[in-house]
Symmetry: C2
Subunit: 246 residues, 2 copies
Amino acid sequence: MHFTASTSSNGIVERDFRLGEIPGVLWSPVSATEHAPLVLMGHGGGQHKKTPAQVARAHDAVLRCGFHVAAIDAPGHGDRPRTADDEQARAELRQSAGDPERFRTATIRYASSLVERAVPEWRATIDALQQLPEIGPRAPIGYGGGITLGTAIGVPLTAADPRIRAAIFGGGFFVYDAQLEAARRITVPVQFLLPWDDEHVDRRSACELFDAFASTEKTLHANPGDHRTIRWVGVDNEFLPRHLTR
Amino acid sequence: MHFTASTSSNGIVERDFRLGEIPGVLWSPVSATEHAPLVLMGHGGGQHKKTPAQVARAHDAVLRCGFHVAAIDAPGHGDRPRTADDEQARAELRQSAGDPERFRTATIRYASSLVERAVPEWRATIDALQQLPEIGPRAPIGYGGGITLGTAIGVPLTAADPRIRAAIFGGGFFVYDAQLEAARRITVPVQFLLPWDDEHVDRRSACELFDAFASTEKTLHANPGDHRTIRWVGVDNEFLPRHLTR
């Protein structure tokens, strides 16, 4: 991992990094406490590591909680090239927009391909971040992914990596069997955000995913709105601080 | 309204009152601010105004938020006599325990009868509380009812009384048509608590109730557990403070 740029303002240090082909960003408090927790943030489908909403959430976690926050671009997203398969998958998504069943199938096929590549990338990123002296192997780690692709990647990642101690997931994507199987292996505390009126995804499938988590502590929060217009209110902002700072 | 007992400890004044036949309790901060908000708490079915869980929630609202909290016994509950109809309704509940459809019908019939009596009692209680100089007509009012009967009464009460500015409701009871009709008239912010694994009540009926609220701000929180064993974690404790203190 090497840093390619560093800026600092308003108490936050933002460092862009590269780990092999993966472009990432690490936000940190200017004065971080030793072994401050690390939160991994996964962006939504079609978005990237520095969308305004994700930057705002990262800044909040740095300033309010004193956490480090890392984000990487998912394969074929943000600053990353798309493979021929990615281009074909995206074309298929566009063409299937008017046909719900075909759209669902195309979305799941593309998501599965992204997840397969993204999980090992995130694990390598955690390895590299733990090499940094300001993080180290003892910093508690949480997954603070948003809804949609951030959860599609975060669920199998959290199931696979015991370093993740608590996770924020959400709905807004088509849940497929491998997601449910991964969820059944997750036992860490889960906060689950459900857009109540998602325009594409039946809320029952999100409820099925929530049901599948083996965690004894899990809370579902639903707000009206679809996954583009939803405004999260009344959500417990102490979830990650409660589980990562002891 | 007249007070029948008053005790004070740990910063909380607890005053029992009677309003006609209605026994109630008012918890207040020892040093309340002028026009401090008033929260109405409705207990669950078969319970009463001073169950340990309700007392704990009331104490939290007094000490953490500086609110007044009022609770009354529902008709036929706590310190109140039961009518012959109440006794018959309760006998029917016991006898129908093994037959889900008969139990549902009996529960709805009894709940409807309680709600019909309780809503005007609560409104008279609000009238009386607003006569107290430490509350007055300008104190913001919220409904902080728990799940089950507290919501069955709270939904039509909130729909009927424009003095209630924000409400906490929940699942765990059989939602019937009059409840849905009342919910459609509610526009104030709603926090909705759903026991995810209720042993009697299908979660779809609670979701239907949540859907029915006309409120632009409404948040559903679900935790694993049935309505006796549920442990509420990760719920936004700032909901009432946010809407009642401006």
